[in-house]
C-alpha cells in the first residue's frame, strides 16, 4: 500500500532538498524548482480527492503508525500495571472536512508559489521556507492525533515568522514578532486544553482479562471523541468486573474550561473580535504571496481546529454555548464590515473583511446542525480562494503602482482590464453573489442558524448588506472612475501573472456552481458530530 | 565530646561569617581573596572537626582538608595572577569597577 497521505504531506520537501543544492544566484532555476514542487502536492491532492470520493466512507484514506512512546515511572504501580506510557501516534486522515481544505491548501499554495515571482531577494531561502510552510499546513489539516496536530500547528509559525520578517514591507519585523507572540500565546492555551483532554479522555487500558493491564495516555482524536462522548466506553475497556464508574470522565466544569481554552486558542487564529489586531499587521507588512497563504489558508486553521478539535470533541459544550458563539460571530461580522467600510488601504480593508467573513464561520458553527456546519466549511474553502485571489491582484497592483491605497488608485479598468475584472469578480464572490463560491456558504450558515437561533440569522442578514457596501466601495474606487494620469503608462497583465488568477477564479466559480464538491466529503465527516449533538438534545 | 564539636563548629561558623562579610563588602580585590581563604579554612576546620568528633569518625575528613588546602593554594595563585592582569589593564583593584558580567 502506498502511503499517499505521507507522500502528499512531505512532497514539498523534495523541493527543499533540490533547492538546497542550487547556488543562490541562479534565480530562474530556483523559481522553477519552487513552483514545480508546489505543483507536486497539488497533483497528489487532486489524486487523493478523486480516490477518496469513490466508494464512500470505507475508502477514506488513513495512515497510522506508532511514533513516540514515552514510558512513565512504573515503580509505584508495579504490581497493578504491566506498563504505563504516554504515546503519540503518527495518525493522518483526510476524512470529512480535511479533504476540501487539503485540496484548497494545495491549490492556493501552488498559486502563491507562482505569484512569488515578484520576490527578488534571497529567492532560495524564500522558497525553502515557503515549502516548509506548506508541509506544516498540509499536516495541520491531516493530523488526527492531538499532539501531531499541535506539532504542525506550531510548525507553521516558524516559516511564517521568517517569511514575514525577511521579505515583508517596512515594518516587517514588528509584524513578525506580533504574529509569533500572539500565536504562541494561542498555542500555549491550546496545549493546556489538549493536556487536559489527554490525561482524562486520552487514557486507555489495554491487556487481557486477568493479566495486569497496560495503561496508555494518548492524544488519539477518535479515542478522545469516543471517551468524551460516552463515560461507559472507558469502563468497558477495564479488565476487571464491569463497573459503571469512570474516574476519568470529564466533569461539566472541566469541559467548560477546555471549551473556553479551545475557543480562545483557535479564536486568536481565526481571528475573533478582540484578538484580531495581529493579523492586520501581517496583512499590511507581509509580502503578498505570503498573505495569500496567510489569509487563504492559515486563518482557516483556526476555523478548522474549532470544528475538528472543538465541536467534534465537546459538542455538548458548543451546543450549550451556541448563543455566545452566534453573538461573537455577529460582532465579528458587523465590526469587521464597519471597519472595512472606512479603510483607506485596500489591504486593511481586506483584513477587516476577513474578520467579517470568519464571522459567518462562527455563525455556521453556532447553528449546530449539518446545514450550518456545511456552511461553515464552505465558507472556509470559499474564503480561502477568494482572499488568495484578492491578494494576488493586490500583489500585481503593488508591483505596478507601488501603492494599494484606495484613495490613490482609481480608474484602473482602463489600463488593466484583466486585473480589474478579476478584482471585481473577487469582490462579487466575497459579497456573496450566487454562482460564485461565497453565496452558498453564507446562505447555508444563515439557513442552519435560523433553525437554532432565528434572531441571530436575521441579524446576520445585515452582514450581507454591509459586505456589499464595503466591497463595492473598495473595488469600484480602484477600478472604476476617471483614471489618474500617473497610471497611463502601466504595463498590462502578462500571461504568467494571469495563470494563477484564472485558476483561482475557476475554483471560485466551480464551487459556486457545484457546491457538492465540498459538501459531499464533508457530509461524512460531520455525521458523528451531528449524532452526538442530537443525542444530547 | 559533643561540646568539643560544638566549639569547633562555632569557631568555624564565626570564621566563615567573617570571610563572607569580607567577600561581600570589601572593595579591594586582594582582601576579597583573603576573605575567600578564610571561608575555605572554616570549611577545613569543619571537616577536621567532623572527622574526629563526628558520628562515624574517619581519617577521610583530614585527607579531604589536605586536598582542600592544596586546591586553595592553587586557587589563590590563579586568583592573584588574574588580579595582577586586571591591575595592569585597568589600573585598579577596586571590585566595584569590575562589572564585565553585565556588559
Amino acid at each position: 500500500m502506498v502511503p499517499w497521505l505521507t507522500l502528499l504531506m512531505f512532497s514539498p520537501l523534495v523541493g527543499v532538498l533540490l533547492l538546497s543544492f542550487v547556488p543562490h544566484n541562479r534565480v530562474k532555476l530556483l523559481r522553477c524548482i519552487g513552483i514545480a514542487t508546489a505543483l507536486l502536492p497539488l497533483l497528489l491532492a487532486l489524486f487523493v480527492y478523486a480516490n477518496a470520493n469513490v466508494g464512500g466512507q470505507e475508502n477514506n484514506l488513513t495512515e497510522r503508525y506508532n511514533w513516540i512512546s514515552i514510558p512513565l515511572n512504573i515503580e509505584a504501580m508495579q504490581p497493578l500495571l504491566q506498563s504505563w506510557s504516554f504515546q503519540i501516534d503518527y495518525h493522518l486522515s483526510i476524512g470529512g472536512l480535511s479533504l476540501p481544505l487539503v485540496v484548497m491548501t494545495a491549490i492556493v499554495t501552488a498559486m502563491a508559489a507562482w505569484a512569488s515571482l515578484t520576490i527578488r531577494q534571497r529567492v532560495k531561502s524564500y522558497y525553502i521556507w515557503f515549502l516548509l510552510l506548506e508541509v506544516g499546513m498540509l499536516g495541520v489539516f491531516m493530523a488526527r492525533d492531538l499532539f501531531l496536530f499541535f506539532l504542525f500547528f506550531e510548525w507553521t509559525l516558524v516559516p511564517m515568522f521568517f517569511l514575514i520578517g525577511i521579505w515583508g514591507f517596512a515594518k516587517r519585523e514588528k509584524a513578525a514578532n506580533r504574529f509569533l507572540v500572539y500565536n504562541g500565546l494561542g498555542s500555549a492555551l491550546l496545549l493546556i486544553a489538549f493536556l487536559i483532554l489527554t490525561v482524562t479522555a486520552g487514557l486507555a487500558v489495554h491487556g487481557e482479562a486477568g493479566a495486569s493491564p497496560y495503561l496508555v495516555y494518548s492524544g488519539d482524536l477518535e479515542q478522545i471523541i469516543r471517551q468524551l462522548g460516552d463515560a461507559q466506553s472507558f469502563v468497558n475497556t477495564l479488565p476487571g468486573p464491569a463497573s459503571s464508574f469512570n474516574p476519568f470522565y470529564l466533569s461539566e466544569a472541566w469541559r467548560t474550561i477546555a471549551f473556553i481554552l479551545l475557543l480562545v486558542a483557535f479564536g486568536i487564529k481565526l481571528p475573533i473580535f478582540p484578538f484580531h489586531t495581529w493579523m492586520l499587521r501581517v496583512h499590511m507588512e507581509a509580502p503578498t504571496p505570503v498573505v495569500m497563504l496567510h489569509s487563504g489558508v492559515l486563518l482557516k486553521m483556526g476555523a478548522y481546529g474549532l470544528i475538528q478539535f472543538g465541536v467534534a470533541l465537546l459538542p455538548q459544550s458548543f451546543a450549550s454555548w451556541s448563543t455566545v458563539l452566534a453573538i461573537i460571530g455577529l460582532v465579528n461580522i458587523v465590526y469587521g464590515a464597519l471597519l472595512a467600510f472606512v479603510q483607506k488601504e485596500l489591504r486593511l480593508l481586506l483584513a477587516y473583511s476577513s474578520i467579517s467573513h470568519m464571522g459567518f464561520v462562527l455563525l455556521g458553527i453556532a447553528a449546530m446542525n449539518d446545514i450550518g456546519l456545511q456552511g461553515a466549511v464552505l465558507q472556509m474553502v470559499s474564503h480561502g480562494f477568494i482572499s488568495a485571489l484578492f491578494f494576488l491582484v493586490v500583489g500585481c497592483l503593488l508591483e505596478r503602482t507601488g501603492t494599494s491605497r484606495i484613495d490613490e488608485l482609481g480608474g484602473l479598468a482602463k489600463r488593466l482590464p484583466f486585473l480589474s475584472a478579476v478584482l471585481l469578480l473577487a469582490g462579487l464572490a466575497s459579497l456573496g453573489l450566487p454562482g460564485l463560491s461565497g453565496f452558498m456558504a453564507e446562505l447555508l450558515s444563515l439557513l442552519g442558524l435560523y433553525g437554532q437561533l432565528p434572531w441571530a440569522a436575521i441579524a446576520g442578514g445585515i452582514g450581507i448588506i454591509l459586505s456589499a457596501v464595503y466591497v463595492l466601495r473598495g473595488v469600484l474606487e480602484i477600478t472604476y472612475g476617471p483614471m489618474d494620469k500617473r497610471f497611463a503608462q502601466l504595463k498590462g497583465t502578462q500571461a504568467v501573472e494571469a495563470v494563477p488568477a484564472i485558476v483561482l477564479t475557476l475554483a471560485i466559480i466551480l464551487i459556486g456552481v457545484m457546491p457538492t464538491f465540498v459538501t459531499m466529503p464533508v457530509e461524512q465527516g460531520i455525521e458523528h458530530i451531528i449524532h452526538s449533538i442530537q443525542a444530547g438534545r | 565530646m559533643s561540646s568539643m564539636l560544638a566549639s569547633y563548629l562555632t569557631l568555624a561558623a564565626i570564621l566563615f561569617c567573617i570571610g563572607l562579610y569580607g567577600v561581600l563588602t570589601k572593595r579591594s580585590a586582594v582582601i576579597v581573596l583573603l576573605s575567600i581563604e578564610l571561608m575555605l579554612n572554616a570549611v577545613n576546620l569543619n571537616l577536621i572537626a567532623f572527622s574526629k568528633y563526628g558520628v562515624v569518625p574517619s581519617l577521610k575528613g583530614q585527607v579531604f582538608s589536605l586536598f582542600s588546602i592544596a586546591i586553595a593554594a592553587a586557587e589563590v595563585a590563579v586568583g592573584i595572577a588574574i588580579l595582577i592582569a586586571l591591575y595592569r589593564n585597568r589600573g585598579t583593584t577596586n571590585v566595584d569597577e569590575f562589572n564585565e558580567l553585565r556588559n
Partner: protein
C-alpha cells in the same frame, strides 16, 4: 395534446448564456461579430418562446416542471430546474422580445463603442438570468437568478466606468436592491424551516398556503404568513424601485440607453411584480400583507409621478414614470388583481421600452439628455418622433392604445375595492399624462425652439446652479440644428415594432375580451366592464395632455411661469423630496461616523490594550535587569539573602523535615 415545444423551454435561456460565454472568451476579438451573435441568439430564444406561448394559448396549459438535484446532504435537498406555467410563458415572451429588439437597437446605438463585445456579453448574461428567474420552480433558484439579474444591472449601469457618476449609480443600485434582497433571503430562511421537507418550490407553497387549515397543519400562524409575505415584498420593493428603495432606479439611467430600456424599464424592474404574482399564494392569506402591497404601490405611483413633473433629464423623467407605473402594478396586485397587474406589466414593457429607445435615439442625435437643451430639436427625426408619440399616448392611457386597457383594468378593480386608492390612481393617471406631454412637447415640437429657448435655458441654468453654462449650450444647439437627422434603420426598426406592439398589446385583455384572465390565473373571469372608470380615465388622460399642451405646447406659457409661482413646492419635487439627502443624513453619514469611531476604538483601545500588555511585560523585565549590575559581590549578597530566606522558611514551615 402533446406539448411539442414546452420540453425545449430549457433552451430559451441557454442561447443568451452561450452569447455571454462566447463573447467573454473572445473578448475584443469578437468586436464586429458581437452584435450579430447577440441579436442572433436572442432572436432564436425569442422565436422559441413565442412558439411555446402560442402552444400554450391554443392547447396544453398544464404546468410543466423538470427538477434535478443540485445540492443535497442529510435531510436537505436543493433542486434546480424549470417550470412552465402560463404566467412565465408570457414573461418569457416579454423578456425575449424586448431583449431581441434592444440587441438590434444596440447594434446601432453602441456602434462606436470599443467595448461592444463586453456590452453584448453582459446583455446575454442578463437575458439568461432573467429567463432563469422567470422559469424558476422554487424560491431559492429564483433568488439565485434574482441576484444575478441584479449584478448584470450593476455591471451595465457602470458600463461607462470612467464616469464617477456611473460608478456611484452602479454602487447605489446594487446596495439599494441588496437591502430588499436580504428581505427575500430572510423570507426564504423562514419558509425553509416551516415548509414540509424543507421544500421551497412554488407548488408546495401553493399547497401549504391554500387555506388557513393547511397552514395551521404545517404550523404557520397568520402572523408568520404576514411576515413572510412582507419580507418577500421587501425584495420586490428593492428590485421594482418602490418607495422607499426607489432612489436607485432614476440614477441607474447612467447606463447606456438600450440598457435603460431593457433592464430598467421593461424586464428586470418588473421582476419584483413578477415575484409578488408568483408567490401570490402567500400574499393571499394575509390581508395585512396585501394592504401593505397596495398602499406602497399606490403611494409610489403618485409620489414618483409628482417628481417626474419637475425633472429635466429626459431619461430621468422616464425612470420616475417607470417607478410610478410599477407602483400601479403593485397597487393592482395588492388589491388581489393579479391579472390586471401582470397585464400592465405586459403592456408597460412594450411602451416603456419604446419610450426609452426613442429617447435614446434623440440623445444619440443631439448628445444631451436635458429636455430644455433638446428643446424641440427632436422634430427633425420623424420616425422617432411619431413612435415616441405613440408610446407617450399609450403611457398616458389614451384609448385605444395598450396603456389605456391595462390602466383601466387596474382602476376598475380599485373602484370596486378601495375608493381611496382609486383616487390615487386617477390622480396619477392625470399626472402621467401631464408629464408625458411636457416631455414630448419640450423634446419634439419645434415651434418652441429658438424664440423662447433663452428663457428656458436660463431657467434651467438658474435651477441647476453652476452645473452648466447656459450660453454655450444654446450656441451649440443653434449650430447643430441642421445636422440632426434620423437614426439608422437598426435603431428605428425596433422603434416601429415596439410602437405596433404598444398599440395592439392592449387588445389581449379588454372589457369585451376577458379570456386572458382565465388563461393566466385559471379562474373564471369576472365582468370588469365599468363605464364610469373608462370615461373618467379617458377624461383624465386627455385633460392631462391638454394641460401639458397649454403649458409646454408650441404656444405654451412655459415652465418658469408656474414654477416661480409655486417655488417651494417646485423645489421640493425637483429635488425628489430630498429622499437621497435624507438617506445620506440618516444612513450613510452615521455609518461612516460609526465606522470611524470604531476604527479609533480598534487602533487605540483594542490595540492599545495589546501594546500596553506588551510594554508592561517589557518594563517588568527591565526592572529586573536593574538587579543584574554585573558585580559579583551583589550577586553573592543576593544569594545569601535567598539562602537565608529558604532557611527561615524551612525553620518556620518545615518542622517535620528538620
Amino acid at each position: 395534446m402533446e406539448s411539442v415545444y414546452a420540453q425545449y423551454v430549457w433552451a430559451v435561456p441557454i442561447f443568451p448564456l452561450l452569447t455571454f460565454l462566447l463573447l467573454t472568451l473572445a473578448r475584443s476579438a469578437a468586436k464586429g461579430a458581437a452584435a450579430f451573435v447577440g441579436v442572433g441568439s436572442s432572436l432564436i430564444a425569442c422565436v422559441l418562446s413565442i412558439l411555446i406561448l402560442l402552444e400554450r394559448l391554443t392547447a396544453n396549459t398544464d404546468v410543466y416542471t423538470v427538477n434535478f438535484d443540485w445540492l443535497s446532504f442529510g435531510a436537505v435537498q436543493f433542486e434546480l430546474g424549470y417550470e412552465l406555467t402560463n404566467l412565465n410563458a408570457l414573461m418569457l415572451v416579454i423578456v425575449t422580445v424586448v431583449s431581441t429588439l434592444v440587441n438590434l437597437y444596440a447594434k446601432g446605438y453602441m456602434a462606436d463603442d470599443e467595448r461592444q463585445s463586453v456590452f453584448f456579453a453582459y446583455i446575454g448574461l442578463f437575458t439568461f438570468s432573467m429567463l432563469g428567474l422567470v422559469l424558476s420552480p422554487n424560491l431559492l433558484q429564483l433568488y439565485i437568478f434574482w441576484e444575478l439579474v441584479g449584478v448584470c444591472s450593476f455591471l451595465l449601469i457602470g458600463f461607462w466606468y470612467e464616469r464617477s457618476s456611473a460608478r456611484a449609480a452602479a454602487k447605489k443600485a446594487f446596495i439599494m436592491t441588496r437591502i430588499g434582497d436580504v428581505g427575500l433571503l430572510i423570507a426564504i430562511l423562514i419558509l425553509f424551516w416551516h415548509m414540509p421537507n424543507h421544500a421551497l418550490d412554488f407548488q408546495t407553497i401553493a399547497q401549504v398556503f391554500a387555506s388557513a387549515d393547511t397552514m395551521s397543519q404545517y404550523g404557520i400562524s397568520a402572523g408568520l404568513a404576514t411576515w413572510i409575505a412582507s419580507l418577500i415584498f421587501l425584495g420586490a420593493i428593492g428590485k421594482s424601485g418602490q418607495f422607499p428603495l426607489h432612489t436607485w432606479l432614476p440614477d441607474a439611467m447612467e447606463g447606456p440607453t438600450p440598457i435603460s430600456a431593457l433592464i430598467h424599464a421593461a424586464t428586470m424592474v418588473a421582476a419584483g411584480v413578477y415575484l409578488v404574482a408568483r408567490a401570490f399564494d402567500i400574499f393571499q392569506v394575509s390581508q395585512t400583507a396585501l394592504l401593505i402591497v397596495a398602499s406602497v404601490g399606490g403611494f409610489t405611483a403618485i409620489f414618483a409621478a409628482t417628481i417626474a413633473i419637475a425633472q429635466r433629464d429626459m431619461k430621468r423623467i422616464l425612470a420616475y414614470s417607470t417607478v410610478s407605473q410599477l407602483g400601479y402594478m403593485m397597487l393592482a396586485l395588492g388589491l388581489g388583481a393579479v391579472t390586471a397587474g401582470i397585464f400592465h406589466l405586459f403592456t408597460h414593457a412594450f411602451f416603456k421600452a419604446l419610450l426609452f429607445l426613442g429617447a435614446g435615439s434623440v440623445i444619440h442625435a443631439v448628445h444631451t439628455q436635458n429636455i430644455f437643451q433638446i428643446d424641440g430639436r427632436g422634430h427633425n427625426m420623424k420616425i422617432t418622433a411619431w413612435t415616441f408619440a405613440i408610446g407617450a399616448l399609450a403611457l398616458s392611457g389614451v384609448p385605444p392604445l395598450s396603456g389605456f386597457w391595462s390602466k383601466d383594468a387596474i382602476l376598475s378593480v380599485a373602484w370596486e375595492s378601495n375608493k381611496l386608492l382609486f383616487v390615487v390612481g386617477i390622480i396619477t393617471a392625470f399626472l402621467t399624462a401631464f408629464y408625458m406631454s411636457r416631455l414630448f412637447f419640450m423634446a419634439f415640437t419645434g415651434a418652441s425652439a429658438l424664440s423662447t429657448s433663452e428663457t428656458a435655458v436660463e431657467a434651467s441654468g438658474a435651477a441647476d446652479g453652476a452645473r452648466r453654462k447656459p450660453d454655450a449650450s444654446s450656441i451649440v444647439h443653434k449650430e447643430t440644428e441642421s445636422t440632426i437627422h434620423e437614426s439608422p434603420a437598426v435603431m428605428t426598426i425596433p422603434l416601429i415594432v415596439l410602437a405596433i406592439l404598444a398599440v395592439v398589446a392592449g387588445f389581449v385583455y379588454t372589457p369585451i375580451n376577458s379570456g386572458f384572465e382565465t388563461w393566466l390565473t385559471g379562474e373564471a373571469a369576472g365582468d370588469h366592464t365599468n363605464w364610469i372608470v373608462i370615461i373618467l380615465s379617458t377624461i383624465v388622460a386627455l385633460s392631462g395632455i391638454g394641460l401639458g399642451y397649454v403649458v409646454y405646447g408650441p404656444n405654451g406659457v412655459r415652465e418658469d411661469r408656474w414654477s416661480s409661482v409655486l417655488k417651494p413646492l417646485y423645489h421640493l419635487i425637483e429635488r425628489k423630496y430630498y429622499v437621497d439627502e435624507l438617506y445620506t443624513l440618516f444612513f450613510v453619514y452615521p455609518l461612516k461616523v460609526l465606522g470611524k469611531v470604531l476604527y479609533v476604538f480598534d487602533r487605540y483601545i483594542i490595540d492599545g490594550v495589546v501594546r500596553c500588555t506588551a510594554s508592561c511585560t517589557v518594563q517588568f523585565g527591565k526592572l529586573f535587569t536593574r538587579v543584574q549590575n554585573g558585580q559579583l559581590q551583589s550577586y553573592g549578597l543576593l544569594s545569601l539573602y535567598g539562602f537565608s530566606a529558604l532557611l527561615l522558611l524551612l525553620l518556620l514551615l518545615g518542622k517535620g523535615l528538620w
